[in-house]
């Protein structure tokens, strides 16, 4: 007994701390790896090579870019609101990394086995909006402000559909806990009974991390770089890595919620999880290579007129079936 804590508790604290560090490092490294993977895959699908000079298959290009970004001048514009300007990029990293805490990578590898796991995820993704809003506002720049306005509207709207699409999964599993949801998919992956929910979740997730085709907040043709126009150096790097962390997060979530997480024959659980998540990360890149950006009003109309009714219908039908079966 040390300070009134038993050895058993200390052990569990140490294990959790190690798991946390491994997950943090793993997710950030995976996000960093996504950068060369995306550039190479985009090259493949556009009939070109992408970076192929630095290191084997250009894999060290990201290291070179990082060294460059570290040594760049970390400039804060004199007209910016300094405190908010500095906090903004930290928020996106914080919220995205926090969301990784509840994801069950394997049966035993979950940092925080929360009973309200899904709600925690939604909470974190809704807090992520602040990063973009504050970045745009504190930059004191028209393009940045316009970009953050768009983001605020887009993210708040699509969060609604994201939450509604998850409710069907929650109804089937009877729990908000992500581990229980994975366990409930032993017989059949959720993607089969909940296919509309899967499509809506994927689209809403894409909009939530403002990836192409929903990258209106940073549409470079009209808004220079959107909300991070004024950012440079490591602060820009945080936005950049934050976006890729978002891809990793949404891919992990799709895997967990609709594709049976770690479940799978022969291979160990983590390998299955990784393979499934990696497939969706590549699919995000394929989406970017293939699709065009919608106009802003089209985006909103599509969300409220198409996704919302389908999501509500899905919840109603799933609920009716669950009630009828029990």
């Amino acid at each position: 007994m040390i300070f009134g804590i038993s050895e058993h508790e200390i052990l569990s604290i140490v294990v959790t701390a190690i798991l946390t560090i491994v997950t943090l490092m793993g997710s950030v490294i995976m996000a960093a790896l996504m950068i060369p993977i995306e550039r190479r895959l985009l090259g493949l699908w556009q009939d070109r090579y992408g970076p192929n000079r630095v290191g084997p298959f250009g894999s060290l290009q990201v290291v070179a870019d990082m060294i460059k970004i570290f040594f760049k001048e970390d400039w804060i514009p004199p007209f910016a609101d300094k405190a908010v300007f500095v906090i903004a990029p930290a928020i996106i990293m914080f919220t995205t990394l926090m969301a990784f805490a509840v994801i069950p990578f394997t049966e035993s590898w979950t940092i925080a086995n929360l009973n309200v796991g899904i709600l925690f995820l939604l909470a974190m993704s809704s807090l992520g909006v602040y990063s973009v809003i504050f970045a745009g506002w504190s930059s004191d720049n028209k393009y940045a402000l316009l970009g953050s306005m768009r983001t605020a509207a887009q993210m708040i709207s699509y969060e609604v559909f994201m939450g509604l699409s998850l409710l069907g999964v929650v109804l089937l599993a009877g729990s908000f806990n992500l581990g229980d949801i994975v366990e409930s998919q032993r017989g059949m992956w959720n993607v089969i009974p909940q296919f509309p929910a899967f499509v809506i979740f994927f689209i809403a997730g894409c909009a939530e991390i403002h990836r192409a085709p929903f990258d209106l907040p940073e549409a470079e043709q009209e808004l220079t770089a959107g909300y991070h126009t004024e950012y440079s150096g490591m602060k820009f790097g945080m936005f950049f890595v934050g976006e890729y962390l978002g891809i990793v997060l949404i891919s992990c979530l799709v895997t967990t919620l609709f594709f049976g997480g770690w479940l799978g024959p022969w291979l160990p659980g983590f390998v299955w999880f990784f393979l499934k998540a990696f497939f969706f990360m590549c699919f995000f890149i394929l989406l970017r290579a293939a699709t065009v950006r919608p106009r802003y009003d089209q985006l909103m109309a599509f969300g409220w007129k198409v996704l919302l009714p389908i999501a509500l219908l899905n919840v109603a039908i799933t609920g009716a079936i669950v009630v009828a079966q029990s």
Partner: protein
């Protein structure tokens, strides 16, 4: 759990205090968001994990975003900050804070002497229990709230609708599906 509760409580108090005293409205909103997050942690420490996350999703994540949205559009500058400072003279906030202090003393007294205070245990309250309570004993309240929200929705659509604009759009584009309505959401 007790330590978490008190730390979060202190953070919430300090952040709320700064929300009131901060001259820059956006900074004040930032403090308000921090305060809401601290309150959410307090809920969690008390065992109401469901309420805690809903607090973050609904209040910090959606309602406050709209607040920030509006404040950002107001084009505030240094002038506003100085005016705000001018308004926040001690003479003005002494009165309200005395009354607030009296309220606080009354509350603390009723909780300690009156015996309303319980231990902070953190017994988890599941979402299931919350749902059962909402649609069991409190179903009437839920229905009333639903009525209110429906009325609000209808009013919002009515106000947000620009009939002249819609007529012009229809005249220009014929009977094609209007995409304009999306913007007014």
């Amino acid at each position: 759990m007790e330590t978490t509760f008190f730390i979060a409580g202190i953070v919430a108090l300090a952040a709320t205090l700064r929300t009131i005293t901060c001259a820059n409205p956006v900074h004040a909103l930032l403090y308000l968001i921090t305060s809401l997050l601290a309150v959410a942690i307090d809920f969690y420490a008390l065992g109401a994990a469901f309420a805690a996350t809903l607090e973050v999703v609904v209040y910090a994540g959606a309602v406050m975003v709209l607040f920030v949205f509006v404040v950002m559009m107001l084009n505030l500058n240094q002038e506003t900050v100085t005016r705000e400072r001018h308004w926040l003279r001690p003479k003005l906030w002494v009165g309200p804070s005395v009354f607030a202090a009296i309220l606080l003393i009354a509350m603390v007294w009723s909780m300690t002497v009156g015996g309303a205070i319980g231990g902070i245990e953190g017994t988890p309250l599941s979402a299931n229990a919350v749902g059962m309570a909402l649609f069991g004993p409190y179903v009437l309240v839920v229905e009333l709230a639903a009525f209110l929200l429906l009325a609000a929705l209808v009013v919002a659509i009515h106000i947000g609708r620009d009939e002249r604009n819609e007529a012009r759009w229809k005249a220009e584009h014929g009977e094609r599906e209007t995409t304009q309505a999306g913007e007014q959401q």
